[in-house]
Amino acid sequence: MFKKISKIILLFLFIGNYNLLYSIFPINLFKIYDVNLYRQRTNNARLETAFLVEGSLSIRGRNAKAQKVNVLQIWNKTLDALTMIRGLPFNKEARRLSNILNAVNDNKIRGNLIPTGDLHASGYTCYAQYFFPHNFSVNLFLPFFSMKLKNVQFTDLTKNITIEDQLVREHLTKDFRTLIRNLGGPEIKDWERTGLGDLYGFVQWTRNYRQNKPWLKNVYVDTRFGLTVPTGLKSDINQLFSIPFGFDGAWGIFVGGGIELTWGHCFQAGVDLQFLQLFSHAAERRIKTHRNQSELVLLAKTKALKEFGIMQIFNVYLQANRIFRGFSFRADYEFMRHDDDKLWLFNNDYSSTMANTSIGLLGWTIHQFVFDFSYDFCVDLPNSCVVPKISLYYKVPFNGRRSVTAQTLSLDLSISF
């Protein structure tokens, strides 16, 4: 069994080496860096294992102005087919089209297509936490995702009036899918993918400081340091809007910590900070070759090293812990922010400056509330060596920039030994 798992892990480690620009894809599915999944030790258990299932209720995108848009419009409202073919000296077909359309100006209507599509996503995460003496624990998370993009459509905005309009229709937008295929761009069609996410392990130190104050009864602190292993399914640069299931081949480290205060017997409030830094990663990527190209369909492919911006996650929560037997309720505000990335091209075929004008390299943010309803059977099974716990998460994103925000419902079943 372990051999099989090892094989699968190895297979995913070495499978392909293709990336889109966005290694940390801006989506709010539970990922390994989500502190909501971290568990406090209960009943002096030595081992805690869990399995989480997350399904999306609806998925929308947020553009740079934080407006709700279709997921395919998070970077650009329209796909600009005229600028798409610019700056491609080695693409014969693009050169030919660029030459034909050299005199045609891009008025942001002509040659522009509105992309739409429906994204569905679900995640499954297995994790295990082993507690060592002196408040140390080791945690392992291995997520598993399934996603599909359906109903991919491009609506042509080009008018039917001027010669320029007609030229663009004839040469660019009439059969857009075939054109993109001929130009070596990503396949414009629906897709469905299932695979592993990145493996995530960390060492955590936690401690409760009991307080003998009228209200404040306990202060809980934790710190953690971990590593992400790129076991996840990488994005496919030949697929439209392909989403990596992990960090797209990059290794990463993180540090984090939090503090939680308990008032009375059950009211808790806490804050948590976590910082993730990915190591630079080289891969074949799609890059921009013209400043005004749309992010969704890029035609140029080249090997490039990506330098990642730091990822920050802030959580503030209030919790009513075991307010009725083992039932707890938690309301969490989570803010995720990823800073700008940078590309370094491996050759001089294209301009690094131009490649770095990519909107996909710009930082993104997500604001969301996570409501956690859980029941811990430790109250009901005080002497049992196996204690189950069940949690229901309801995630409500309410703001963000350049990101895909999913309203999800998750069920988490954990067992402590």
């Binding site: 034909i100 050299n102 001027t162 030229l167």
Partner: protein, 1008 residues
């Protein structure tokens, strides 16, 4: 018929009634007071007036003396009741501001002023006639009527803080006080040699200029230090000072001796203050003008000549460092006599030295423009200017020529000048040939920098004219500015002459009479492959047909300022780019619904269909027109025919009144209209099949004298014709003379038509994939059985992967712009009779340093008709690269001899490096269109992704080897809502009114 005549008469009456005013941009507010010194607005609105209430005697535009950074107009009064407006100034604050000019004229002559360093002195110029004004930077140098002093006015925004300085009385050449100063010139010689004023004076007895005693006086501008008290503190400040010198080099006086002499002498009584102490480098002997009479060797040839009248004009060329004096002269009646009407002067050691414009030996006939070698013959030059072309060569521009002043008032000539600035490798001050007429057929010499690499020194004519054949005559195309006489009666004179870049402008202030047509006119120089002027474009009206005293183009804003006298005084008007909702005439007449060109087009070409796709101007010289001109505006499945000029009374005049009623047809036929028809729209019918219409031409068959209107676009071409395939025969002079019953019929099987052109025998149709020649025949049109010869086809192997963008046919020659360069008709071929593609033998033309994609061709021809470009025409080639966001402009000279060969089309000598031709200019962004009239270099840029549409102008003296980084490219304010506007298609000159038009999806903007 009677009805038609009635309507014609009515039209005439209406026109005559409203003839005194036209569509206009803005009138600079006149002389109201008091004014707010900051805003320039009149403080008392009730006193606001649009006119200057007095006639203008003289004026000066600052740009003629400065860079384009500042723009101001100084005017002087020709009446004695103008108060502090004796001298007034209007200013454009800054080229970048939306409100480009201050609201009105500011008075510069308060009743009391700091005069010769005395505060609150009575202003001697207040309420005076000021017949002459010149500018030195922003210093105004003026002359008072019946006075022989020079006044220097230091003006500020607050007239009360102005300062005025006067010279002593200026003597004539006999050292007696001159009776009058009749002409002025400012000689700027740089920091070391200082600035000079040169004044042509009449003798003490006020006899005709040229009589004994008349001459040219020199006044030196220097500074002197005086102590000034400000807030009880003494300051040593420098104040200007005018010193009148002895200009006559015959009165030799060593500077050192004179200084010694001065020390021992008492001060001159005329120089009342301590001038000599503060001007040690300038001799201060009694002032004396340089004597100018017909006895001068530089004027006479053989025996004494006679200066005819008091019309003297002077011009200083800063680059050559030479003074040009123009006058009318008559040669002696004795045989062997001749005369010259231009003097070339220089300042050397504080003396004036004159040289003949060309040696005696050069003048042997009476057609050499500035001189005659014939006895008892007249030469009359009444205005003189110089120009430096964009090819870096110097030319003399003169008004007048061989003959009496009454016979040459309508002639303007250009003559090459010697420039030895780099040739002599020393200061050319002492050269006797610098600035004289150059041997016209020499090839100019090019001067590179020390490494013999960069063309940063320039290009010069270095050989002076010596013999008769070295001079251009008044029959040479290269000399005749405007390619013929001005639209002016020969006995009348132009009111102003000025040059901007490669263009010569004249102003005509006489009313319509016989040949005379008032307004501003321009002509553009055409250069050969050596950079020499080889021809000039036909005179073209600019901006207005009003009577204009003087004008200037404010290049950074694209505005023309012009002085237009009227019955209420004088209005100074300035053209502006904008939309003109209504005809001002109609507004004056309370006709609020009147529709001018803008309104009419705007209401017919909506923004939903991308507005006006193209505009084509057909001047009154178009075959098939007689005293009639029109515009064709095209749009989506629609065209408009608009009369722009027709016979009004006995004169062809621009159509400026209400264009209503607007006639419309929605079935593709000509609507039924009457004599009043000036605006006709046609849509529907076969035009609906054409879609976006981007090409139009008046197509003629010269043999049968038949004419058609042909349009083309996305869906092919359509011809306006009746059932017999005919449209009109002979000439039309009104729109309603196009036969009724004609309708547009689609012919041929074309798509994506880009351009159509006809040459009187064939119709040429360019699509993005082929160029076809169609035999023009009504029988063929009727049956739609066209005789087509395909001259270029992208399906041919040699044109594989090439797309056609533009073309031009002229005689047997033709050029074809493509996505892969420029092609011409092959050697010894004739495009008119080529049997097929291969028979044209398209030959690639090297476009130096250009982009591969040739976007547009712009033709400049002596006749104004692009079909004539092979007869000494200029072709501007715009190549653009969308990905690099850059465009380049190249220039070619085309001269078709008997057969086409390598010499037929040649690039102009635009170069950065030695022996390496380059583009003329590189734009800092992608350009969709280029337009020039020689003075303004305008380019259009469509909205492209984040780049907004703009109309930009090059703000500089534009010349060969000019680095684009050193040239400002300023956007002109078009008053367009940027959200809606994304397409700007073309710049077109309305040949009748002279207005510039810009069309796009937003509609129309007019510079008027």
């Amino acid at each position: 018929m009677a009805k038609r005549n009635f309507f014609s008469s009515l039209l005439l009456i209406i026109f005559l009634f409203t003839n005194t005013s036209i569509l206009l941009g803005r009138v600079v507010d006149g002389n109201c007071k008091p004014r707010n010194p900051k805003s320039g607005n009149c403080k008392d609105e009730k006193k606001e007036t649009k006119n200057l209430s007095f006639p203008i005697a003289s004026y000066a535009f600052s740009t003629r003396y400065n860079t384009y950074d500042d723009f101001s107009l100084f005017v002087t009064s020709n009446a004695i009741n103008s108060g502090e407006f004796s001298i007034a100034r209007a200013t454009r604050n800054s080229a970048n501001e939306k409100n480009k000019s201050k609201a009105g004229f500011m008075p510069l002559c308060p009743q009391k002023i700091m005069f010769n360093n005395q505060a609150f002195h009575i202003n001697p110029l207040y309420n005076q006639k000021i017949p002459l004004i010149k500018l030195l930077s922003n210093l105004a140098v003026v002359v008072k009527e019946n006075d022989n002093k020079l006044y220097l006015l230091l003006s500020t925004d607050d007239p009360k803080k102005g300062e005025l300085y006067s010279s002593v009385k200026i003597n004539d050449s006999l050292k007696k006080p001159a009776a009058e100063i009749i002409s002025l010139a400012v000689a700027e010689q740089g920091f070391i040699q200082g600035s000079w004023f040169l004044a042509a004076v009449k003798n003490n007895g006020n006899e005709k200029f040229g009589s004994e005693g008349s001459g040219i006086a020199m006044i030196y501008l220097t500074n002197k230090q005086i102590m000034e008290k400000k807030e009880n503190i003494d300051y040593l400040t420098e104040k200007p000072r005018l010193i009148v010198l002895n200009a006559d080099p015959k009165d030799k006086l060593k500077l050192e001796d004179k200084n010694k002499e001065d020390k021992s002498k008492k001060k001159s009584e005329s120089d009342s203050d301590d001038e000599t102490k503060n001007a040690p480098k300038v001799p201060s002997e009694d002032n004396k003008a340089f004597p100018i009479t017909g006895k001068m060797n530089e004027i006479k040839i053989g025996h004494e000549a006679f200066i005819d009248n008091n019309i003297v004009d002077m011009h200083w060329d800063r680059i050559l460092g030479r003074l040009y004096v123009a006058f009318s002269v008559k040669s002696n009646s004795q045989s062997g006599s001749g005369a010259r009407a231009i003097l070339v002067g220089r300042i050397s050691r504080h003396k004036l030295i004159f040289e003949p414009i060309a040696p005696d030996s050069a003048f042997t006939s009476n057609d050499q423009i500035v001189g005659t070698g014939i006895a008892n013959d007249n030469v009359s030059i009444y205005k003189v200017r110089t120009m430096r072309t964009s090819t870096l060569l110097n030319y003399l521009i003169v008004a007048g020529g061989n003959g009496t002043l009454e016979a040459v008032g309508n002639k303007i000539f250009a003559l090459p000048l010697v420039n030895e600035n780099h040739y002599l490798k020393k200061v050319s001050e002492m050269s006797t040939t610098q600035g004289t007429l150059a041997k016209y057929d020499q090839n100019p010499k090019e001067f590179f920098n020390e490494n013999e690499y960069l063309l940063d020194k320039g290009r010069e004519f270095v050989l002076p004219a010596k013999i008769n054949s070295d001079l251009l005559t008044d029959k040479d195309k290269a000399a005749i500015v405007g390619n013929g006489d001005l639209p002016l009666n020969p006995n009348e004179k132009i009111s102003d002459l000025f040059t901007i870049n490669d263009a010569v402008f004249v102003c005509i202030s006489n009313d319509y009479k016989n040949k005379t047509q008032p307004g501003i006119y321009s002509s553009q120089a055409i250069f050969d492959e050596y950079g020499k002027i080889t021809a000039w474009t036909k005179w073209q009206r600019v901006v207005t047909d009003k009577k204009v005293l003087g004008a200037e183009c404010d290049i950074p804003t694209g505005q023309f300022w012009y002085i237009a006298p009227n019955e209420n005084g004088t209005a100074v008007e300035l053209s502006e780019w904008g939309k003109y909702q209504h005809n001002p005439n109609a507004l004056l007449n309370k006709e609020k619904n009147a529709m001018g060109l803008f309104d009419s087009l705007h209401s017919n070409f909506g923004i939903n269909n991308d507005g006006i796709h193209q505009i084509f101007d057909f001047s009154r010289f178009t075959p098939g027109f007689n005293n009639f001109s029109m515009l064709i505006a095209t749009g989506f499945c629609k065209i408009a025919l608009i009369e722009t000029g027709s016979l009004k009374g006995s004169h062809y005049k621009p159509t400026k009144d209400d264009l209503r009623p607007l006639f419309d047809s929605n079935v593709g036929n000509l609507p039924i209209f009457n004599d009043h028809a000036k605006f006709v729209t046609i849509h529907g019918g076969h035009l609906a099949k054409i879609g976006s219409i981007v090409a139009a031409d008046i197509v003629s068959n010269f043999k049968t004298n038949e004419h058609w209107i042909v349009v083309g676009g996305v869906g092919g071409i359509a011809i306006l014709m009746n059932n017999q395939g005919k449209c009109w025969r002979g000439d039309i002079s009104l729109l309603n003379q196009i036969p009724s019953g004609s309708g547009f019929k689609k012919v041929g099987n074309y798509s994506f038509v880009r351009k159509i052109q006809s040459d009187g025998e064939f119709l040429y149709v360019l699509t993005d994939k082929k160029l076809d020649r169609i035999k023009i025949s009504s029988a063929d049109f009727k049956t739609n059985n066209l005789k087509i010869t395909t001259l270029a086809d992208v399906n041919d192997q040699s044109f594989k992967n090439i797309y056609l963008t533009d073309f031009g046919i002229s005689n047997k020659f033709g050029i074809l712009a493509t996505s892969c360069g420029l092609y011409r008709v092959g050697d010894y071929k004739d495009i008119r009779y080529a049997k097929n593609f291969s028979d044209v033998n398209w030959t690639k033309v090297n476009v130096p340093d250009s982009y591969e994609y040739i976007l547009k061709l712009f033709f400049v021809t002596p006749t104004g008709n692009s079909i004539d470009y092979a007869d000494q025409g200029q072709v501007y080639v715009l190549s653009s690269n969308r990905e690099l966001n850059r465009s380049k402009l190249n220039r070619f000279f085309v001269k078709l001899q008997e057969e086409i060969n390598n010499e037929t089309i040649k690039p102009l000598p635009d170069m950065y490096f030695k022996d390496k031709h380059s583009c003329f200019f590189e734009f800092a962004s992608y350009k969709d269109f280029f337009w020039t009239d020689g003075a303004q270099f305008l380019s259009l840029q469509n909205k492209d992704t984040n780049q907004k549409i703009s109309l930009e102008t090059l703000v500089s003296y534009v010349y060969s080897g000019l680095l684009s980084s050193t040239v400002k490219q300023l956007p002109l304010f078009l008053d367009i809502k940027s959200k809606e506007a994304y397409q700007i298609n073309k710049i077109t000159r309305n040949s009748a009114s002279g207005e510039l038009l810009v069309n796009g999806n937003f509609g129309l903007r007019i510079n008027q």
